[in-house]
Symmetry: C2
Subunit: 207 residues, 2 copies
């Protein structure tokens, strides 16, 4: 599952002439569900959407508060084109979950967000309709989320890459694989780990 999160001053969805929803400050989420996604992916994405620290605190300190902590809004729109594989220059969407399965799954994700936050602050598009999504990206600030469970997830693949490097380094001593995964993601922290990077200067960079 992929989500593109844009921090917004405001955002809205129009179908034809009709505005179907709108939010003020908050985040606009474009959500792409893959054929392989499960409830585990949904849980991860929902948790991250609601808890990502994309906003300043009351003292202007950047990257300090989540959408929930600021009482801001969420506009979530289904976006199967994020599950795109390029064949040359042509997008192919075989890896997107088919609409008849994606729609109930997507609705359950919206419900999870509403349960975890305030239901009236979670807005939606119109599944399957041709929409105009008006996004006033504030910063701009855009973050891409990929759920950890997918087989083609970059983090999984990074782990594999490091495993391989380690194997090649140690292969002179025989085919032992002990300690194979030790510290394999040292520089890349577990995204589900608890936060604790308060002293990290680079996080204070402003858009």
């Amino acid at each position: 599952m992929k989500a593109i999160i844009q921090r917004v001053t405001k955002a809205s969805v129009t179908v034809g002439e009709e505005q179907v929803s709108s939010i003020g400050r908050g985040i606009c989420v474009l959500l792409g569900i893959s054929v392989d996604d499960t409830q585990r992916d949904a849980d991860y994405i929902v948790r991250k959407i609601l808890n990502l620290r994309l906003f300043e605190d009351e003292n202007g300190r950047a990257w300090a508060k989540s959408v929930m902590e600021r009482d801001f809004e969420v506009l979530c729109v289904s976006q199967f084109t994020l599950q795109c594989i390029l064949k040359g220059n042509k997008p192919d969407f075989h890896s997107a979950m088919p609409a008849e399965l994606a729609q109930p799954f997507y609705n359950s994700i919206l419900e999870s967000m509403r349960s975890a936050y305030k239901p009236e602050l979670i807005k939606d598009g119109k599944f399957g309709a041709r929409m105009q999504v008006n996004i006033q990206n504030d910063g701009p600030v855009t973050v891409e989320l990929t759920s950890p469970a997918g087989p083609s997830d970059p983090k999984q693949l990074l782990k594999l890459e490091k495993q391989q490097q380690r194997k090649e380094k140690t292969r002179s001593k025989g085919p032992s694989e002990s300690g194979r995964e030790k510290g394999s993601l040292r520089s890349r922290q577990d995204p589900s780990a608890s936060s604790g990077a308060e002293g990290d200067v680079s996080s204070d960079r402003e858009p």
Copy 2:
């Protein structure tokens, strides 16, 4: 290098009260440069941005034409937050190229786009400024591009994974894991393969 491409009906950039640029139909590109990116990444991203088939042709056939083939516009805005690693819920931007290096690199990318297309149809934000980027996402249609040269790039890692699988297959006397990961990415086609998916029905899916 990462780029989030949004197909737009219109888009514009405002800094304070001043509108610094605007486009009509075309694509809005949010571009995140990593510390590891080189000219090779830039070349790949520029080529894909300009040639991705995100537009209908004159007969309404979807995914048929690129921004260049339709004579549409490009608004490209630098977006270091795409090079984000989550530490828990806090974004960390150590892997983004520092601004003093990213700015000339970003300008050279804009110049490449102008050289490859019509310079007057390539618009820009204001590097490093706090901007409001107004995006009217048409569809919506959003595609994420990742350049192939980065060390944590999915495509490179896919290649590595396949190499690993091959090695493990041939290492028949060792503690083989070949069954475990065999074909784990079978459904993910090589995105750098040449195009030729004209008959691909799933590409005709509409947003």
